[in-house]
């Protein structure tokens, strides 16, 4: 039992860190420019496809990952310059409509190019096997993802909390107009943040590709999770995004793994088998509604 819990906790950590890669970009776009980007999940999907296609072409996962992430960053740049700049001044409703349209376009374009079937993406061979930690085995590739996630989270923390650019970003999230008045080029800054967010999306998509299927529609489910994360954490706050990702990642993974067992121990088998999966899949939404009920601005509101 402890082994199961430990293993699932590691899975939760890994999932949470990947969510953080998505949520970090989303929360900044949201926080600084007050722009709802429903197409963030599409960037994740397109990024995963880029990585899968580049991996197939180059026959190397790492080259594929690099090329895919760079491709997504370029796509992010084009989107920001061509479309999102028009949307910042508009109301949330227009942003929802425009980015919803982007989802339609992205899904259908991907289907037209790569077909409706899921793409297979294999992890690098050196990492395909399990490693022994203490007294149980854990897939090496998942460990790598955890290491990657921690490294990037650390890097982002340094970038946002300690660097000058990070200070501008935080200032922009707290009060955009004041930051502009102080002579910071918020517009250029935002293009950079958007591109960076797109790259992080593709990175998460590429890293998760070998674990999950690379397929049309993969962006939508993860998008909702990323939104839950940034709402829990507080919009515009990187720290909130990290805490929120880890909470959502662990609660979701542990809930799915342990709740059915726990319920079986306490309820009649029939009720437990119906209730278990239902409760496990809505756990994070319950959590989010609960947190919003008591803290309507999330755990770490960026705007005081």
């Amino acid at each position: 039992m402890t082994q199961l819990i430990l293993e699932q906790a590691l899975n939760g950590l890994q999932f949470g860190l990947m969510l953080f890669l998505l949520a970090a970009g989303l929360t900044l776009v949201f926080g600084i420019m007050d722009c709802i980007n429903l197409a963030h999940g599409s960037l994740y999907m397109v990024g995963a496809y880029f990585v899968a296609a580049a991996t197939q072409a180059a026959d190397s996962f790492w080259i594929g990952l690099g090329v895919g992430v760079a491709g997504a960053a370029v796509l992010g740049l084009v989107l920001e310059l061509a479309l999102f700049r028009q949307l910042y001044k508009r109301d949330h409703l227009s942003q929802v409509l425009a980015t919803f349209a982007l989802i339609l376009i992205a899904n259908e374009t991907v289907r037209a190019i790569w077909g409706p079937a899921a793409l297979m993406l294999n992890p690098p061979e050196a990492l395909a096997g399990p490693v022994e930690i203490g007294n149980f085995f854990y897939p090496a590739y998942r460990l790598l993802i955890i290491a990657f996630g921690i490294a990037i989270a650390g890097l982002l923390y340094l970038l946002v909390a300690k660097s000058r650019v990070g200070m501008w970003v935080r200032a922009g999230a707290a009060n955009r107009e004041m930051t502009e008045a102080l002579g910071i080029n918020v517009r250029g800054l935002f293009t950079a943040v958007f591109v960076f967010g797109a790259a992080l999306c593709a990175l998460a998509g590429g890293l998760l590709g070998p674990l999950l299927a690379v397929q049309v529609g993969m962006g939508e489910s993860v998008l909702i999770l990323a939104f839950v994360v940034i709402i829990i954490g507080g919009i515009g706050s990187i720290r909130g995004a990290l805490v929120g990702s880890l909470i959502v990642g662990t609660v979701d993974t542990l809930g799915r793994a342990l709740l059915p067992t726990l319920l079986r121990a306490t309820l009649p088998a029939d009720a437990a088998s119906t209730l278990g999966p239902a409760l496990a899949s809505i756990l994070i939404y319950l959590l989010m509604a609960g947190i919003l009920f008591f803290k309507p601005q999330g755990l770490f509101p960026a705007r005081a």
Binding site: V96, L97, L104, I105, A112, I235, T274, A278, L292
Partner: protein, 315 residues
């Protein structure tokens, strides 16, 4: 935004459309195009659903991204009623409205504590909860949904005939539009729109802002439930797909295309979007791309929606 005021031509045009609707099934039958009666019914039902969202979004100013949950709740309520042996729409439809409305009341009571983006997201979260609950409820069909055992009867008349269901949907839509139109001009609707314009001022004037919004939200949910019950009759299935968040997004798109806060915004939007879909499907397999591009064009070039191109709302 300004207050809703019906244009002078609105009433004659509505009557004309109603007459056209009454003639539609026989005209289609005369041309041997019965297939399109079902399609027209779908348009009417989505017009009803989108109009109910328009009450919440356009008149109440609440951007809800979880409206499909109430549509789905109505559909499931209808299917479950039928399973329980109640096949009379005069009983089932009010029950579906009641359940969806009650559900909306609970969701609204919690969600309306939040503002702006947080409200969008919390309504989405509740819709997701409902979606996953229905997916994992095996006794209600789980993933596959809950099929209906044939169509219901309305006041004793069977809705099994496509034209009969069409007339039922048209009648209910007409009633709903009449109700929404009266509501928008009544004291309640005026207050609701004033709250949308300036919440703080209305609060200061002593209006119970929260309660007004909550009532509008629940009312919107109830009418969406009615649309759901009709839809279950049309398709013969209460499917969890009805509760998917993309469905909420589609309803939102309909209202925005049609014109937020225009009485007929939801109707116009539903008709435009569904007709567009229907005609694009024939053109190319990848019609979603064209639809997406058109939506982008609407956002960038006709930000107030199609209804705004014709009607005036600014009093």
């Amino acid at each position: 935004m300004a207050f809703y005021r019906p244009a002078s031509w609105q009433k004659p045009l509505s009557l004309l459309l109603l007459c056209a609707a009454l003639a539609l099934p026989s005209v289609l039958a005369a041309f041997g195009q019965e297939f399109y009666i079902g399609f027209a019914t779908r348009v009417l039902i989505f017009a009803l659903a989108a109009s109910s969202l328009n009450l919440v979004l356009g008149f109440g100013g609440m951007v809800s991204l979880g409206h499909a949950a109430f549509l789905g709740a109505g559909a499931y309520a209808a299917a479950i009623c039928q399973q329980a042996g109640i096949n009379e729409a005069l009983l089932v439809f009010p029950a579906a409205m009641g359940i969806a409305g009650l559900f909306a009341l609970v969701v609204g009571a919690i969600s309306l504590r939040t503002r702006g983006v947080y409200f969008i997201m919390i309504t989405l979260a509740f819709a997701q909860m409902a979606y996953y609950l229905f997916i994992s409820a095996r006794s209600w069909g789980g993933d596959d949904g809950l099929p209906l055992n044939g169509r219901m009867t309305l006041a004793g008349f069977s809705l099994a005939d496509d034209a009969a269901l069409f007339y039922a949907a048209a009648g209910l839509l007409a009633l709903a539009m009449l109700f929404f139109g009266r509501l928008a001009e009544a004291r309640f609707g005026r207050t609701l729109q004033a709250i949308r314009e300036n919440e703080t001022r209305m609060e200061a004037l002593g209006y119970p802002v929260f309660r007004y919004r909550l009532v509008a939200f629940a009312l919107g949910g109830a009418v969406a439930g009615l649309a759901g019950a009709l839809l279950a009759n049309l398709t013969g299935l209460a499917s969890p797909n009805l509760l998917q968040w993309t469905q909420s997004g589609t309803l939102l798109v309909m209202v925005i295309i049609g014109g937020v806060g225009y009485l007929y915004g939801g109707v116009v939007g539903a008709a435009v979007l569904l007709l567009l879909e229907e005609s694009l499907v024939g053109v190319t397999e990848h019609w979603h791309i064209i639809l997406g591009l058109l939506l982008l064009a609407v956002v960038l070039f006709a930000p107030k929606g199609v209804a705004a191109l014709f009607g005036k709302r600014h009093g």
